[in-house]
Assembly symmetry: C2
Homo-oligomer: 509 residues x 2
């Protein structure tokens, strides 16, 4: 371990109190912004886009698949149009709920219905912590981030290695990232690098080794979660289409999340962004079904807005929250699970990062999003922050606790205790309280509830400073989850072989 990431020996020892790994159920009805008529109007507008304008799909394989499924395909212009009946028929074939099997069966999860799955971020080229600031991500940072995702019980899924290890060659980087995901956690994982058939295939092959199964076994018991973006407006590029097709064919869950930046890449209205998103998401899901009927392809939402004055994208805004709730309604119209995100524009782990993320989480929870991605994100996804990961973990587990069933029984009411305590007394010593002492209320990961004097005398630490201590302590306490040495060797051998193949293919080009 380098000096940079060496845990601070003075870190407080109470920092890693955690709730157990547990499924989270959304037991209350979803918030709805749209009336049934408005849901229908958005649906119909999307069908009109798909029928009259269509999408361009820059992938020959995908064009052939779509043609075969009955879409109107122009192979010269790569334009694809979809009749409403075809949309209806193919979307109906996608499952509304499915299980994802982790290497540790106790950490398998379900996506769909009233399930809420929390996952971490993927994609940022930068990493940051408050010791060394923002910098290029490295292999060591990436491995540390993955370890933390494994160690933090609140996360159900390793969401994609957190950051890009920029010190590794881009053409083989995905192999090292997947190796970290598989071996440093025992949770299901979401590979990040799906942007080609061969990379998606690498991920699938490594999943087969990790889960010691074959193609049919993996299809029967999916183990990884993929995701692709459309390039709004109305474009599905080659790499994304290839990854989508490969995942669908392998029967692995994959979401289609259009990137409808309202005002720039979609109309400057929430409804317009959702209409375009809906059309593009349906097109992607249709492609997945065209590749393999019944494949678990699901709905993604990432409808953010642009600051009209500066052109900057803005995350975690009121419009983003509205779009998430509306998107949840659209996904439920189609009987599909939905994925959305914790988002923020902030460049540091401050109040803005917190309230933008918190509003995003509120929208995801109230709108019944099934997969909440991107814990650890800063700066609109450009940076992966160690302190933000701890902060998001706290906010997500607070929402998990909020969603737990409240005990509303005579026993919980405690009328006998109220009678026993009498006027102006206190409940500390009653049997009713003593029976509940250990786990009466939420125990925080990050919050400091001590009074001002105690907080001040312990160094007046902000939550961000405490988050810094917590991730270092988690790394210090980290234990690699058990893995069969034979499996690990097999993975290493696969990686070595593939690196060799990729290098020789590159040098022969």
């Amino acid at each position: 371990m380098s000096r940079r990431n060496r845990p601070d020996r003075k870190a407080r020892t109470a920092g890693t109190k955690q709730r157990p790994f547990a499924r989270v159920r959304n037991r209350y009805p979803p918030m709805e912004i749209l009336s049934a008529d408005q849901v229908e109007a958005i649906h119909r507008a999307s069908l009109k886009i798909l029928r009259d304008m269509g999408l361009r799909v820059d992938c020959r394989t995908s064009l052939r698949l779509l043609k075969g499924a009955g879409a109107d395909v122009d192979f010269d212009t790569r334009q694809v149009r979809f009749a409403p009946e075809l949309v209806k028929e193919l979307i109906a074939g996608a499952p509304s709920k499915f299980e994802v099997h982790a290497r540790n069966p106790e950490k398998s999860i379900v996506i769909g219905g009233d399930e809420l799955v929390f996952a971490t971020t993927c994609g940022p080229p930068f990493v940051s912590d408050i010791d060394f600031g923002r910098r290029d991500g490295t292999l060591e940072d990436m491995r540390n981030f993955v370890k933390l995702v494994g160690a933090l019980n609140v996360f159900h899924v390793e969401g994609g290695s957190g950051l890009e290890p920029m010190d590794l060659p881009p053409e083989t980087r995905h192999l090292d990232m997947m190796m970290a995901q598989i071996t440093l956690t025992d949770k299901a994982w979401a590979p990040n690098w799906l942007n080609s058939t061969s990379r998606a295939r690498d991920c699938i092959e490594m999943a087969k080794i990790a889960l010691q199964t074959d193609d049919d076994g993996l299809r029967a018991r999916p183990g990884i979660i993929g995701g692709v973006n459309t390039n709004s407006p109305r474009l599905l590029d080659e790499s994304q289409a290839e990854g989508l097709v490969e995942f669908a064919r392998a029967g692995q869950p994959i979401y289609v999340a259009p990137f409808t930046l309202a005002g720039a890449m979609s109309p400057a209205t929430v409804a317009g962004a959702v209409v375009l998103q809906n059309a593009e998401a349906l097109a992607g899901i249709i492609l997945g079904q065209a590749a393999c009927r019944g494949a678990p392809v699901f709905y993604g939402s990432f409808a953010i807005t642009v600051d009209m004055k500066t052109g900057s994208p803005s995350f975690g805004t009121p419009e983003y929250a509205q779009a998430v709730i509306m998107s949840g309604q659209m996904a439920r119209l189609y009987g599909l699970p939905i994925r959305s995100s914790v988002t923020t524009s902030s460049s540091c782990v401050d109040a803005q990062a917190t309230y933008e993320s918190s509003l995003s989480i509120e929208a995801c929870v109230q709108g019944h999003v099934n997969l909440i991605k991107h814990a650890g994100w800063l700066e609109g996804g450009l940076t992966c922050s160690f302190e933000k990961l701890i902060l998001d973990a706290e906010m997500l587990q607070m929402h998990a606790a909020f969603l737990e069933e409240v005990d509303v029984t005579d026993d919980a009411f405690g009328l006998d205790a109220i009678a026993e305590v009498g006027v102006g007394g206190h409940f500390f010593g009653t049997q009713h309280t003593l029976d509940r002492y250990e786990d009466a209320f939420y125990a925080p990961l990050l919050s400091d509830w001590r009074n001002y004097e105690n907080w001040r005398d312990d160094g007046s630490k902000t939550a961000t400073q405490r988050a810094n201590e917590i991730w270092k302590q988690l790394l210090r306490e980290y234990e690699k989850p058990p893995i069969d040495p034979g499996v690990e060797e097999e993975l290493e051998a696969y990686i070595a072989k593939r690196k060799e193949e990729i290098r020789s293919s590159a040098s022969s080009n």
Copy 2:
């Protein structure tokens, strides 16, 4: 203006972009945690407490009023018990909705129904900003805080002077606080110092002068909002009872907010805390009705939890959020408006202060709380922070924007613009976008959406640092709202007379 509060001349000029003062409507159905049966079970358990155990009311006037209304009163023990029929009859007389008339009629507000009213804090003995830290509140701090509440459009009501000016004599402090509230803003206000008949009366007299009306006029058009706490468990002390009776008699809105600290002052369960809160709130509302049938007395909720390991109260927790939602359901059972709060335990304006406050706001919004108090609060209410006020303003106005009606029309969908832009293009130049350029999306008060490089080159300021610049700029730009000089003189004369009376009464004791 002292050096301490002199605005920073280098403060950015874009800091005070604000949404206009506007009513906020909660157009979506409230979140519900309790089934109808569970609402009924809590109601029945509360009735049992009121019938079998009752409350102690340490106020002779109140005991006589309750006796007269039909309660079972023991004047020796000061115990009061309530028959279920009496509860039902008296609660039914309290209004479900009422208007509060501000000095500026454009800033009058409605409490009840689907209305959301945002108000600031009251009570903290300490004030803080990041320049000088936490310290005793002063008259100057208090006046600056009230100016900011007046200047920030998102706040509908001045909530109680923010902080206690500890440099003023406690026996006449309330007069100076009310003077600041009346003259430095033109919004309705919530006097803080109601803890005696004479102080409540001072507030009412000053409201009459401010609104240039008499007792009947003020009763017909209420102008101030009061609040009292019960001392859980099951105690209403003399000062709170006196203030409540005086306000109810004057026809001024007043809420009854039990302080059911679960695990200490109520059972160590959310349901137990809500049951006891419900019984105590009903008792207070009954006292208000006994003082004056039909008086606008309403439901308050402040059911927080205690950290069982340390005894510290904890604010903005998952249990607090559950209790707020459940309390909203109870208030609606009785057809009463409900008041709750933005809360946090944090000792500084950091991520914890933000996520605890944000979860509180989420619960208040989703649970249809009508009056949301305590913007500006830190440290469980011990400190009033200038930066926290700005932060809360941003979070509240984000929620106001989130609740605005979404335009879901063909025009908003922009299918023509989507067709015009084509595959992979952008929407910046379309007429559809140009038509919406000015106010397409939420404009923040505090958020910085610039990219990392621009943010860094401008000093890498956190949201808390920017909040510091914003409140200084608001003070620099502050303009006292117009007031008839005759009214101001009349108020000054009233204060001078009352100070003289209070001092001579004190010296004669």
